[in-house]
């Protein structure tokens, strides 16, 4: 199973990508995925979204197709 990882704002520089696709299992957690694909990212203070919904860093992603790093937002 493939999952798309996204990194926004300054996390894209840390991750080295703003988007990439990796192999994953339904039991993978967002933390495991980013540890594998972007170990340089400091996840402290970041949220993570799975298929456009905020998600627990340590809960399995299931059949999701997109997992995104969400640094503190600052729209407006």
């Amino acid at each position: 199973m493939k999952v798309r990882l996204l990194a926004f704002a300054y996390t894209a520089q840390q991750a080295g990508f703003s988007e990439c696709v990796i192999e994953s299992d339904a039991t993978d957690t967002p933390r495991q995925l980013f540890q594998r694909a972007a170990p340089a990212v400091a996840t402290e203070g970041l949220r993570v979204a799975v298929d456009c919904e905020y998600h627990d860093w340590d809960a399995a992603i299931g059949a999701a197709s997109e997992v995104a790093l969400i640094p503190p937002v600052s729209g407006g």
């Binding site: 926004f8 704002a9 300054y10 894209a12 456009c52 995104a68 937002v73 600052s74 729209g75 407006g76």
Partner: protein, 129 residues
């Protein structure tokens, strides 16, 4: 409630006002404008980035949940992305309601919640997306 959520790379222009019913008594419009001084540094502008699909979904949910407390008829939301020069608008929100209280509170709380939870970012140097 009619919701319109848009991200635009063009200069923001308020769309013509259309009243959904003749019961609308209040229209509140909010423009967020890029300031020259942001956290002590002098800017020429800001670069905005969004996770558009998620942002739209979160905004829809925020608007739906605010509607229970503040019944409004229409909400129109436009956030500009990319480079926005100082003095230009990065955000436009229009809320139409029967009464001003609802419209003003809806607008204020929608912005508060956007700033807390909606994946949109001001970035100093844009990432290569």
């Amino acid at each position: 409630m009619t919701k319109s959520i848009e991200f635009s790379r063009a200069r923001l222009v308020a769309p013509p006002m259309a009243l959904p019913t003749l019961e609308i008594g209040a229209c509140v419009e909010f423009y967020g404008i890029v300031r020259e001084l942001e956290k002590g540094s002098l800017l020429k502008g800001l670069f905005y980035e969004a996770y558009e699909t998620m942002a739209a979904r979160q905004l829809e949910r925020i608007f739906d949940s605010l509607r229970a407390a503040h019944p409004v008829q229409t909400v129109l939301f436009i956030h500009r992305l990319g480079w926005v020069p100082v003095g230009e608008s990065s955000l436009f929100i229009r809320v139409l309601a029967c009464h001003r209280g609802e419209a003003l509170r809806f607008c204020g709380e929608a912005i508060d919640r956007m700033k807390a939870d909606v994946p949109i970012w001001k970035v100093v140097a844009p990432s290569a997306r």
